[in-house]
Amino acid sequence: MTHGWAGHILRVDLSRGKATKEPLRLDWAEEYIGGRGLAARYLYEEMDPSVDALGPDNKLIMATGPLTGTNASCGSRYMVVTKGPLTGAITTSNSGGHWGPELKFAGYDMVIVEGRADRPCYLLVDDDRVEIRDAAGVWGKVVSETEDAIRDETGMPELRVAGIGPAGENLVRFACIVNDKHRAAGRSGVGAVMGSKNLKAIAVRGNQGVRVARPRDYMSAIWSYHEHLAESPGRQGLTELGTAPTVDLVNTFGGLPTRNFTAGQFEGTEAINGESIKDNWLVANKACFACNIACGRVTQVSPNADKYMVNMHPRNWKVAGEGPEYENLWSLGADCGVDDMDAIVMANYLCNDLGMDPISMGATLATAMEMYERGLLSDEQTGMALRFGDGKALIAMTEATGFREGFGDELAEGSKRMTDKFEHPEYFMGVKGQEFPAYDPRGFQGMGVAYATCNRGACHLRAWTPGIETSGEYDPHGTDGKSVWVAEEQNRTTAHDATGICMFTTAGAPLDDLIPVLSAATGVDYTMDDFVHIGERIWNIERLWNLKAGLTAADDTLPKRLMEEAHKEGPSAGVTVDLDAMLPDYYAARGWTADGQPTREKLMELGLA
């Protein structure tokens, strides 16, 4: 009998129409904890990294951690691990809600989806009963309607559904997998992988339980962890205002990328910050499973939003939904120069319901807007004026992208491919094909090396430096100590991701609180050193995977704009990113060669050679 881990995986071969229940490799579970780590181990073992991300040979893994489904706050997470269609790299896309815990209750730590169905289907998992069902009744539907329709069709109101909307079906390269209507494994196009397999959704109902190995130790560790979380100002801030106050923090330091990174401060922040949302749009805050924070914002569009009609596919788009969070406020707001919250909220709902990543959506559109304003894209090409600050363009292009209509078909490829096609790659703002999230490394130097080295392309969640860079401990514009901190933090967050616990708990409870919880749940005695070592092992196996996929040290880079063009105004004026100074230190801190290859000694130390 396993504890923490459910002990089984579900393997679904869509080409053969077969689903099988297999025992979990427990030796790997101990060495990689779960979620992101365990899935990376399976993917490294089973799949050739050079396959086409949208072909039948790519595998789609949805993996929980040993604490997913327990009462450990916020044990709601699952990780989607696959080859990303946006990046060509291994991607690790995380989501909360209720789907991950439900999969554990059904008795599985992860699902591995292989092959491609010959017609649209969805998967129904009810404990040991697994069916590959015809999706004719739900294909084409938006995310929220898909979920409702599957519940109606099966007569199972308790089903938890993770699936794709039109964007995933249309292979938009930044389509998400969305569960519980508003929670998304958002980045790198994992939804397009699901779509490429003709898989609309995985609907799960579980009646079993998650056991812990040492109940008394476990509960005492939980109480202290939850108490620290309850008392912390970081947690209280997230409960009160969600992630949106980051708008003000980042803007103050000149690190809020504005109009495709042509400025570091946005003049419209008062309209899009935490207070604005709370006063004008918030209905309630909402928690994921077992979450004592409840950062989720349930919002409602105002009657003024009527001016933003969704034209091409008339339908009654929902008036209440979730978000926007900080990242989306930035991508759909500041990055596109839009300060009208009605447009931002509406575009955010569209992204949720069409099933695509609002970060990449906004960032790709911002790139197109810059090119349009520079005269590099014509009205004939775009079909409409794409000017910064135009809310109507934001709504129209968001919808067009989800359905790949008109210029939306170009945007759906992501800004890397779009700028390549129109022969101006210098306007692509991202790394490894993935658009940057909401921090300008010219305001926070450390984000430069964090972005450049992240295994899944530009990402803020693997080593979030603004916290330490605004604390007074480090100079936000200097390079000193940043590389070492980033490498260590990447190891910590990677191990954290493997547990099934939400990253936001670290805003409140110290990481030391989590180790005894993990140990008592699994029965494996992990120390903090073990934990960080496991994070490093996972980081390196992802790196090895990427090297096999054809990525090299040349991909650990940043756009020229960040390294050569400084902002002219604001607190970050005159600063450029000195990646040349930081990258060698980073490779050294990792124990890699000067060209970014893990050494044999390092791999031996990590048990990877």
Partner: protein, 163 residues
């Protein structure tokens, strides 16, 4: 004065900590399908409502039970299913107007909230104070609320007829 469970839906965020705590007490595992408190999520309204047995004065579960397996705990006033007597017929689960008596397929017996012998785990676990275990005149506080709902329902029907 007896203590009773009071639920304040406005404070609930839908996190399910109460379900997890309850299932832990019932099974020693985290198993929401065996929880005796259930959180209803009304997504479109952004409203979350935990509900469980309110230990009503007029306990239909007791009336329906053919073998007198449900008794009243002298200390807490909770209506408690006695496993030794319960034959698993499920009549109490049908009789309960609130749907808060459940059938446990593992034990093949009925099970319902017994107020954890006076220290309800759901109330302890709730991070937002949406579930309180407090003194009240009657355990049957939901009755007043039901009357209010009924009244406004009748008014709305009458209003509809008049129009």
């Amino acid at each position: 004065m007896a203590k009773s469970l009071r639920i304040i839906p406005e404070k609930c965020t839908g996190c399910m900590q109460c379900e997890l705590a309850c299932s832990w007490v019932q099974t020693g595992m985290f198993q929401p399908s065996r929880s005796l408190i259930r959180v209803n999520i009304f997504d479109e309204q952004a409203s979350y409502a935990p509900y469980t047995c309110f230990q009503c004065d007029e306990a239909w579960c007791m009336t329906a039970c053919p073998v007198n397996a449900i008794s009243i705990d002298a200390d807490t006033g909770a209506k408690v299913v006695g496993d030794a007597n319960c034959v698993g017929c499920g009549l109490c689960t049908i009789a309960c107007p609130f749907g808060t008596v459940f059938y446990n397929p593992d034990t093949q017996k009925a099970f319902k909230c017994d107020l954890c012998d006076g220290n309800p785990a759901c109330a302890v676990a709730c991070p937002t104070g949406a579930i309180e275990y407090t003194e009240s005149e009657s355990a049957d506080w939901l009755g007043g609320w039901a009357e209010k709902v009924n009244e406004s329902y009748l008014t709305s029907i009458e209003g509809g007829n008049a129009a």
